[in-house]
């Protein structure tokens, strides 16, 4: 299937995406618009939120809040409850980052380190992100610091070509920190605007692999004490409660400045980002909605929430 053909699919996917959301939205709305507020409504609300992967704790808190609001504001009409919930979610997701990206004067390029567990979409997201910056006529360098997975470098090379970004690579099996260091040196020398570093997928529970990431971060600091300026954890929207553990351990090891939520073109709701935002104050920065170059979008809390509840 060629690139051209693919766009046809993407268009269809998009309509399917909104169809899936319609399903969820319709469910929530039909139950919320049923008229009077009663106990059954809160139960069904709980079901809907848990099924969106928001998790038991966040769901209970939200439902509890809704209960109180209903009582305090003397809400009687179930539809009012729907706007209150939407408001609540948007305000939660709009909270500023607990760890703001450093507001500094970088020595050279703005450096983004892309991390996450295996297969979430790091490499693909880098291709898309590079493309986004290239559309703004920025000079972008990509570093192939996933030297572990078979053919990872080749995969990234293809994305670099697609987005017409430069690539710095070593041989497969090389020290990822050395790749990152060389790439930053090159990006400074070439006066690039952005450096995006790909890393091998790793489970957050593997301490030795987390040390490897810390080392990458350390060596970047040797060339630019303010780097990396952004550490993005890529998260697959189909992920359940384990995403909390990912957020916790990657934060402990490195500090995360934001999340990229990928694969939102499927049927998964990605509701776990609500729990992550609530617990760790880590905001979502971008969403991935497909496998093509232009399938990365900035995250807008209102759109995200509306997409959950609206057609």
């Amino acid at each position: 299937m060629g690139e051209k053909n693919r766009f046809g699919i993407i268009a269809r996917l998009r309509s399917q995406l909104s169809k899936a959301r319609e399903g969820f939205a319709a469910k929530v709305r039909s139950l919320l618009r049923r008229g009077k507020i009663d106990e059954g409504i809160f139960e069904e609300l709980e079901a809907a939120l848990i099924q969106a992967d928001m998790g038991v704790n966040t769901t209970s808190e939200l439902v509890e809040k809704m209960r109180n609001r209903a009582k305090d504001d003397k809400l009687t009409d179930a539809e009012q409850l729907y706007s209150v919930l939407e408001e609540e979610l948007i305000s939660l997701l709009s909270r500023p980052a607990g760890v703001e990206p450093k507001p500094v004067q970088p020595v050279g390029p703005r450096v983004t380190l892309m991390i996450g567990v295996n297969g979430v979409g790091k490499t693909t997201t880098i291709g898309k992100l590079a493309n986004m910056h290239r559309q703004d006529e920025k000079k972008v360098l990509i570093a192939a610091a996933d030297t572990f997975r078979a053919a990872a470098i080749e995969q990234l090379e293809i994305w670099a070509n697609r987005s017409s970004a430069d690539l710095v690579k070593h041989k497969s099996g090389a020290d990822p920190a050395a790749v990152a260091y060389d790439a930053l040196a090159a990006a400074i020398a070439r006066k690039c605007d952005y450096l995006i570093i790909d890393t091998a997928g790793r489970l957050h529970t593997k301490t030795n692999l987390m040390e490897e990431l810390k080392k990458i971060k350390r060596v970047l600091g040797k060339l630019d004490p303010t780097a990396p300026h952004e550490i993005l954890m890529v998260l697959d929207a189909t992920t359940g409660q384990n995403a909390l553990s990912q957020a916790r351990l990657f934060t402990e090891a490195l500090g995360i400045t934001g999340i990229v939520l990928t694969k939102l073109d499927g049927t998964a709701k990605g509701g776990i980002v609500v729990a992550i935002q609530q617990e760790f104050g880590i905001p979502v920065k971008y969403i991935g909605v497909g496998e093509s170059l232009d399938d990365l979008k900035p995250f807008h809390p209102d759109e995200f929430v509306k997409a959950l509840f609206e057609d």
Binding site: D53, A150, L203, E291
Partner: protein
């Protein structure tokens, strides 16, 4: 986490010991805890609902056993039902009477199909087969190359048609190639795709109809959340699944998706992926995943073993002492002896929740022997009040036990630390106490 569930249940049922029968009323809170645990493990909301109703029905009217608490009993019933739901025993792969046996791997993007294809090939070769790896993911950049490299690492043949954009054609040709080169299994690595992408699902149907795979295995990520039911259901109804491979179980995901997928497809989980290396692949064990979903290690076998070997009354006394920090070296020795009765130490320890986190720190059998020898060489008084053991006593004990003063020092220090730890362990019940108490190594 188990600690949480078990603790919760202990608390919930604290006042229930020996209360006669399990009833709707006295089970209510406990079942709520179980429900929360399952949801936290990502088991689908609907599956949890059905499951809890089922367990309630099963448990209703059962006598609360004198020997265990109602909390433990509910956990046991829940666990047994989970194991049964998961299929009871591990199910093997099927093979065609006429080779090559075709095994097709399907699943979402990023679920781990390519790595799994290589792992499966390695596994089959070890069992005397001659697999051919077929690279049919023509979409993801460098996916074909990835499989080729893995095949090279395994020194195993792979097949693709360079530059082809036609997965169906590649697969058909691959079967011819397998026949010609006497490969008895063909493993098809297909591109990751969304279950709602009609065009790509049709492609799988074409491959299925052309090759008639003996096994169509859904590769699913253990970290999948509530969407697991939707995904599994779509792939199953549209392509037809014969089994499941659960990947990335080496992390800390509780793996509730396993239960969801099993419930909606009715198909067995056949293998699990437990690491990035090609040998990190294992047959699926329903009982292990059940414990994992409940977050409890293999604590139930431990409970069973303990019930068989440890005198209940004595165990209760020991626990009491542990909690009050009156636990002496004498008690410690006795605990060691009882543990030894339960089986090989490493096996017993593997079942204790939390021990898995202490990889590499587990006490070895030989350390235990040493510890016992040292305690045996002490006088009664020394065992009761270890603080009186000074220089000359240490020398005597070391001589008597065939160890060194350093060994004796180490034990005393550890015992001290253990007593400190007991204070923290207080909340966690005696099983965990056992695990903590045994952390003997320096």
């Amino acid at each position: 986490m188990f600690e949480a569930l078990s603790e919760k249940l202990q608390k919930t049922f604290r006042n229930l010991r020996g209360l006669g029968k399990l009833s709707d009323k006295n089970m209510k809170d406990g079942l709520r805890d179980v429900r929360m645990a399952l949801l936290e493990a990502d088991v689908s909301y609907k599956v949890v609902k059905d499951f809890i109703a089922h367990v309630q029905e099963k448990a209703l009217g059962r006598e609360v056993l004198e020997s265990i608490t109602p909390g433990q009993q509910i956990v046991k019933i829940v666990h047994d039902e989970l194991v049964q739901l998961m299929g009871g025993v591990a199910e093997p792969l099927g093979f065609s009477s006429e080779p090559p046996t075709v095994i097709m791997l399907i699943g979402l993007q990023g679920s781990g199909k390519t790595t799994t294809a290589a792992k499966l090939a390695r596994n089959l070769r070890a069992r005397g087969h001659h697999p051919l790896l077929v690279a049919a993911d023509v979409y993801r950049p460098a996916a074909v190359r990835q499989l080729q490299i893995l095949a090279e690492q395994l020194e195993m043949p792979s097949f693709t048609i360079e530059g082809s954009r036609d997965p169906v054609g590649i697969c058909k040709e691959a079967i011819q190639h397998a026949r010609r080169s006497a490969r008895d299994v063909a493993i098809l690595d297909t591109a990751g795709r969304l279950h709602i992408n009609d065009e790509l699902i049709e492609e799988l149907q074409l491959i299925r109809d052309a090759l008639k795979p003996k096994e169509t295995l859904l590769v699913a990520d253990a970290m999948t959340g509530q969407d697991a039911v939707t995904v599994a259901e779509s792939f199953h109804t549209r392509v037809g699944v014969t089994g499941v491979i659960l990947t990335k179980l080496d992390g800390d995901a509780r793996g509730g998706a396993a239960l969801s997928i099993r419930s909606v497809t009715g198909k067995p989980i056949k293998f699990v992926g437990i690491g990035e290396k090609l040998d990190a692949f294992d047959a699926f064990h329903p009982d292990r995943i059940a414990s994992r979903i409940l977050g409890m290690g293999d604590v139930l076998s431990l409970v069973e073993k303990a019930q068989g070997t440890i005198d209940e009354k004595r165990a209760a006394e020991l626990q009491e002492k542990l909690l009050k920090a009156q636990f002496t070296l004498e008690d410690f020795r006795e605990q060691l002896q009882q543990l030894k009765k339960m089986g090989p130490l490493d096996e017993v320890l593997a079942m204790i929740p939390g021990m898995s986190k202490l990889k590499g720190l587990e006490p070895q059998e030989k350390d235990v022997v040493k510890v016992e020898a040292i305690i045996n060489s002490m006088t009664n008084k020394e065992r009761q009040s270890p603080h009186i053991i000074e220089g000359s006593r240490k020398k005597r004990i070391a001589r008597g036990s065939g160890t060194s003063v350093a060994d004796v020092n180490r034990l005393l220090k550890q015992f001290q630390q253990m007593q400190k730890m007991m204070k923290q362990v207080r909340r966690l019940g005696w099983l965990r106490g056992l695990g903590g108490g045994l952390n003997l190594q320096p």
